[in-house]
Subunit: 405 residues, 2 copies
Amino acid sequence: MSKDYLAEEVQAMPDKWNYAPHVLSLESSIIREILKISSKPGVISFAGGYPGPEMFPVEEMKQAAMEVIDEFKSNALQYSLSMGITPLRDTVAERESKLGFPTKLENIIITSGSQQGIDLCARAFLDPGDYIITEYPTYVGALQAFNFYQAPYASVEMDQDGMLVDQVEDAIKKHNPKFIYTVSNFQNPTGITMSEERRHALVELASNYNIPIVDDNPYGELRYAGKPVPSLKAIGGDIVISLGTFSKILAPGLRIAWMNASEKVMPIFERVKQCGDLHTSTFTQYMIYAFLRAGKLEGQIQKLIKGYGQKRNLMLAEMEKNFPSELTWTRPEGGLFIWVEMPKHVSGSKMLPKAIEEKVVYVYGAPFYPDGRWDNTMRLNFSHAGPETIVEGIKRLGKVIKDSL
Amino acid sequence: MSKDYLAEEVQAMPDKWNYAPHVLSLESSIIREILKISSKPGVISFAGGYPGPEMFPVEEMKQAAMEVIDEFKSNALQYSLSMGITPLRDTVAERESKLGFPTKLENIIITSGSQQGIDLCARAFLDPGDYIITEYPTYVGALQAFNFYQAPYASVEMDQDGMLVDQVEDAIKKHNPKFIYTVSNFQNPTGITMSEERRHALVELASNYNIPIVDDNPYGELRYAGKPVPSLKAIGGDIVISLGTFSKILAPGLRIAWMNASEKVMPIFERVKQCGDLHTSTFTQYMIYAFLRAGKLEGQIQKLIKGYGQKRNLMLAEMEKNFPSELTWTRPEGGLFIWVEMPKHVSGSKMLPKAIEEKVVYVYGAPFYPDGRWDNTMRLNFSHAGPETIVEGIKRLGKVIKDSL
């Protein structure tokens, strides 16, 4: 076809289109912006929440992909149900049951990453102005999803045992929130795990007011130290909507996650999922099903626990050596992140350009607070970089911090 | 872990949770409900928009999956950019350019199916009460996506040349719509293609008012008869946001589609995409990239044109033989659907249970109209069933219709 069709009268001005005002105020994910910088050669990144690439079971995933085509043929390439493919939902339900809460097929909907699970909760509950209770700080991707729906936050402070649950009842009375969002295990960004006592208290409170708890739980199985704590789902049952994912325990690029919730909620999640993307990739669902069926996931998780546990220990040791004594940081028993607090006059965001000059990047902490308040903080990821890189990166970062004090 | 954690005090009542009121009024996709029936043994389905399973390049996709792992290794399993992986965006841009409109990498964002493209347009533009101009009837999945955002519709009637563009200006003046949504090629559900003259008129009008046209174009390359018409994008350039997909020309189960739009719009789409699912599956993006790079797509499309063209001819011929003369239907030059109008007193929805008894299903037409008005219509898909099944199914359906007249 010729390229001369373009009508002469066309004078589109996309910059003047009539966008929804609340969309214009959305910010691009600071993490994703920093990640663009991280891909430059020589830059050491502690910024993303990326799994270590050396940990991916590459050959096994190739095997799974081949098996899927050989066994399910055209079905693996066809449209499938909005709830997800049945064999994967069944397998996930079985695993969830083993992990502490009896779960059936009907309780599981497959989502396109946990980010979509967060979005589906927002879709199901939020009108503009509806409050959400969150930890303070909390996962920035969740804030981004919720911001789209113009949600204000009732932020609840944390200590080393997680959310201060005695602040929650006041927040409920004052704001009538639609749900309570928590990352109860090895929280993003702080690495803190909610204590068993707090979990019971939170569940009791939520049940009294019949307000759902959304437990975003990507790291729960990645514990390197300390004693396991029962999941909020195991304690709270139907009051909890639990978000699980294969992104951290297997491979994020397949974009397969799930929600575990009361079957009474499922018709609503199914509908809002249909609005958003009809259904999640049939092919990658089957790939993960094939991998699980072969019994390979538990070994993979053990491998991750060993590898990430060593990286965590290494990073903590190097921080001890290289960071000035004015700083404090968490010592997470699992997950992917360490949270650093610097003296109040030090700005994590203003320090970043200096760090980039020294070829090391991190995520500064302000975006994890809905009010952006505590800029003297930063989040460090220890799962992605290799050991030598961790040593070199923490050395560089220590220097940058010392120069900024 | 023991299963005795469940706190005794828990009394969740998910049916009484405080959902967003507008979500409770959403209906599940009628098509997806009918598809659940279609999967019963012996039932012949003309309901979905499913590709013919015999058409999938199964072995080539297996080859692509293996290549992807061998070549891109852990990168194929890792997180990737919200805009999509660069080699796929590049390849799509090149194809779009060949198809009539010069397109660069910066104009392409990869989406999780075109349904997500529709949703991203809604996210970018709509506040509750904002109007959209659509054809009447129009694609039910788009209505479902827009309904979530509480969009009212300025519906524009169609004739055999598509949307009656002279009604559009009035609708613009009256409703100040956020965008014009059209399926310009082999429309879903009617199979009608907008004429070149109408396209120019629509582009001129949209440009005068600077209102974007969202051209949902999944079938544009599947033409079996008649003369090609330049795409709205080729005619309109930046005033058009064009949605393309690999679902109909390759495999829907991979959930890979794209938007082609002015680079000025992209920061907004990137942000709302991040809110929704961070990014689309890295692995299936690479799979499609590998398939395209091997030059296999054009042959695949030729195969589809031949196969679907024959099915279309067969279904039209069988309808001629088996359907009563009181009915009229479209003779689409491409796409996947034939649209049937029955006498006004015949209800497509009331007839469906009788059809199910005779083990044949279709989608009745009412849900394609925002006001659900014209229930004497139905949409028949000819891409999915095999030839013998088409013959038998149309015979069964003819009988059901005759009994209902």
